[in-house]
């Protein structure tokens, strides 16, 4: 997407320049490096946190929120310009579960007290939220979750565990779907709770990924007391809260994904120029490699234009339809194919385990030239792209049912 496609006015150009200036002046080298080193969803936590504080100080802590909660009051066009400039600048990816996921739910379903307490802490970067959805026995089939919440006076008492909780080691709060009743439909009897991570009885087990990163955790709950005042929405009505959140995640996800794809194409083009082909030229000269890269580049152009159309046609406030889900099936696969090509591009240098050198601040030297550091861990970590947020197998079922009426 490009600003010229938006039918821009002089004010739009001025806004773009303002955003661009903000990025130029505030994004430090460490922020940029943190963004560059990100192999999966989020940048090294410290740099996301400090970037959120800078955004907040500028009044852009959560620009898409309603103005009453601190949003920037931008037009849809300005939001798109913001996204494009963000793509250009590449800030570190902030731990977004608070700002993007739980906050819209609190706005829709929360009590006045909950709104007044939680929202300011999220936008200021004081609170960091983890998402407690998946369980060992409930992944893509989320509604079969089992974490037990028993009513006891003004509290619930929680027993069970959540898993694949990204960055829970940095979170001071966690929102969870818990089972409060056994009913005929498994979607009923689920309740949405807002929980403090320092509650007695919560324990973390780190889970290391095949790329060597500590991103995931299992969070164990043993007789954890949560006040009922921390329930979001009605008891046993947590599934409708969760659905709201998932919709939000999907629509924001499409734009983020396309942005990411475009960046990866540029990245890969640079990469093949830096790699020798072994026959006196660069890998760019290799016809087989070039062909694969060009095919992916074209797939990304299609993804980009299709997403732009979908976003331009969307009615403000309406829930996104299944077309976005359909587009993202291919986009995730394209994203993986790009990282696969990257991993092959670096040849023998895909092999060294360089987790020590992959930190923002480190004294571990890179094995080989600098550009070989990331492609292999990037490829390995991106296998999650077709697992997290529901597998393509599940999404295909959804699209078949809801869009094609099969």
């Amino acid at each position: 997407m490009d600003i010229e496609q938006l039918d821009p006015t002089p004010e739009d150009y001025a806004f773009r320049d303002e955003v661009r200036r903000f990025y130029d002046q505030n994004l430090t080298d460490e922020h940029r490096r943190a963004a560059l080193l990100t192999t999966w969803a989020l940048a090294e936590f410290e740099y996301g946190r400090s970037w959120q504080k800078i955004l907040y100080a500028r009044g852009w802590g959560a620009p898409n929120w309603p103005v009453e909660y601190g949003g920037a009051g931008w037009s849809p066009k300005q939001r798109l310009i913001w996204e494009m400039e963000s793509q250009r600048a590449r800030p570190p990816e902030i731990m977004r579960m608070g700002k993007n996921l739980v906050a819209p739910c609190i706005m829709t379903f929360g009590t006045d007290e909950q709104k007044a307490y939680f929202l300011p802490r999220i936008i200021s970067g004081e609170d960091w939220w983890a998402q407690g959805y998946s369980e060992p026995g409930a992944g893509s089939d989320l509604a079969s979750l089992q974490l037990q919440a028993t009513s006891d006076g003004d509290d619930y008492i929680l027993n069970g565990s959540k898993i694949w909780t990204t960055f829970a080691q940095f979170a001071n709060r966690i929102f969870c779907l818990v089972r409060t009743a056994k009913m005929q439909k498994k979607q009923e009897g689920i309740t949405f709770l807002l929980i403090d991570m320092d509650s007695p009885g919560i324990e973390l087990r780190p889970i290391y990924t095949i790329a060597g990163e500590h991103e995931f955790n299992q969070v164990f709950f043993t007789d954890v007391r949560v006040p009922k005042s921390r329930r979001l929405g009605e008891e046993n009505a947590g599934w409708s809260v969760a659905r709201h959140l998932l919709l939000y995640e999907h629509s924001a996800g499409l734009l983020r994904m396309v942005t990411e794809l475009r960046w990866r194409v540029r990245w890969l083009n640079e990469l093949v120029g830096l790699e020798a082909d072994g026959y006196g030229g660069s890998l760019r000269d290799d016809p087989d490699f070039s062909r694969r890269l060009s095919l992916l580049e074209i797939a990304v152009e299609a993804a980009d234009f299709a997403a732009a159309q979908l976003i331009a046609d969307a009615k403000p406030g309406a829930p996104p339809d299944a077309t976005g889900e359909l587009l993202n099936i291919r986009n995730r696969e394209t994203a993986q194919a790009l990282t696969e090509l990257g991993a092959e591009a670096v040849g023998y240098y895909g092999a060294p385990d360089q987790r020590g050198a992959r930190k923002v601040v480190t004294d571990v030297p890179v094995v080989g030239p600098p550009h070989v550091l990331l492609p292999m861990p990037f490829y390995l970590a991106q296998r999650a792209n077709t697992i997290a947020g529901g597998t393509p197998e599940i999404h295909r079922n959804n699209v078949a049912k809801h869009l094609l009426g099969l």
Binding site: Y279, G350, L380
Partner: protein, 382 residues
């Protein structure tokens, strides 16, 4: 033609497999960590280091098929010992280029597990072109002086002796003028940067700064080492293809088992047709790679063109089908397949590394096409 395994070969396979599961595989390594060379000594006493070598050096008889059997079993571990670097690559240089005296001296030490070898051939600008050798060996007095750099030398940290490809004549990418040198790992001027690889093996970046070696350090024909190097690498490609075949079979077993027990949407996920078809495709993929690996092993002793085509074909198939099985092994397990806790992710990573090793699909296709041209040319009487 159908190849049937002999009774001895079946016995070898069963023995190695049992040993791997009990001692060297993922679960065994996690549950009872061993001291570095203990496993190596065990492998020596079981005769595993010698299967590829002639009986007169204390080896098992030298059939490439025996190596295939051992590597398949290792693939099911997965095993992280420096077997390919020492036995297949280092041992390959000795077998194919060493003179009688050198073989008689070093092969027994290799088989006994006393001396470990490694083969340093890849360079910063060579990619997968084996003829691309910049590391120089200059004549100095009645010996040589080696200067240059080798990259991602598997088994480098463990090696006592390095075999090194070096240019004694000609330009960087000439096929002629390449020689093989034997260099003690602790020779003056050799410096190593050691590291672990993503799949749990070890490797080194090795810099040679005016390393002095005597004239006898040349192994094989001076200036004419490339055909030997190609042969050694082809042996190694077949070995890692077999390793990938083992990893694929283990992954397929894990996936069938997991899909039958993992419940989602009220039933085991193995009841979903999309999952069934995927599992069937993974088994088809296994058969394809296993078939071409065996055919390549049987072609190793044929002429270089037939051998090269068979080996390139196996590696191409691996790049498509083993990679398919690796990725889907993770996919069918979901997030748990992406963790260090489960062997599934380790099989996937090993297959991923093997795919790049010695050149992935593009490189092998180039080679396959070039050799086919060679064959057709020969048939037309050129």
């Amino acid at each position: 033609m159908r190849y049937t395994w002999s009774e001895e070969q079946r016995l070898l396979r069963d023995t190695v497999e049992r040993y791997v599961i009990e001692n060297l595989g993922f679960a065994a390594r996690r549950d009872k960590p061993q001291t570095p060379r203990a496993a190596w000594r065990d492998m020596a006493s079981l005769g595993l280091l010698g299967v590829a070598f002639d009986e007169r050096y204390g080896g098992g008889g030298g059939s490439p098929l025996d190596t295939v059997l051992v590597m398949e079993a290792f693939g099911r571990g997965p095993v992280v010992e420096p077997y390919v670097s020492t036995v297949v690559l280092g041992g390959g240089v000795l077998r194919h280029a060493g003179d009688e005296a050198l073989k008689a001296e070093l092969i027994p030490k290799l088989i006994a597990g006393d001396t470990l070898f490694s083969f340093a051939y890849a360079e910063p600008r060579s990619r997968f072109n084996l003829a691309n050798v910049e590391l120089r060996a200059q004549t100095v007095g009645n010996g040589y002086e080696l200067s240059g750099q080798k990259i991602v030398v598997y088994g480098g940290p463990e090696a006592d002796v390095l075999f090194v490809s070096a240019r004694t004549a000609g330009d960087t990418r000439d096929r002629d003028g390449i020689s093989l040198f034997m260099v003690p790992a602790d020779a003056a001027g050799v410096s190593r940067q050691d590291y672990q690889t993503m799949d749990g093996l070890t490797a080194s970046e090795i810099a040679f700064d005016r390393v002095r070696v005597p004239a006898e350090a040349i192994v094989g024909e001076p200036g004419g080492a490339l055909p030997t190097i190609e042969r050694v690498i082809d042996d190694a490609i077949v070995a890692v293809c077999a390793e990938a075949v083992g990893a694929m079979s283990a992954l397929n077993e894990r996936c069938v088992e997991y899909c039958k027990t993992r419940v989602a949407f009220g039933q085991p996920i193995s009841k979903f047709q999309v999952v069934q078809h995927r599992l069937v495709d993974m088994h088809v993929a296994y058969e394809q790679v296993a078939a071409l690996t065996l055919r390549a092993a049987l072609a190793l002793d044929q002429d270089p063109v037939s051998r090269g085509r068979a080996v390139a074909a196996a590696k191409v198939q691996l790049g498509q089908d083993a990679v398919f099985v690796g990725k889907n092994g993770v996919q069918l397990h979901g997030a748990i397949g992406m963790t260090e806790d489960l062997d599934v992710g380790h099989f996937f990573k090993r297959i991923t590394m093997i795919n790049s090793l010695f050149g992935p699909v593009e490189h092998q296709l180039r080679r396959y096409r070039e050799l086919r041209g060679h064959n057709e040319g020969a048939a037309r009487g050129h």
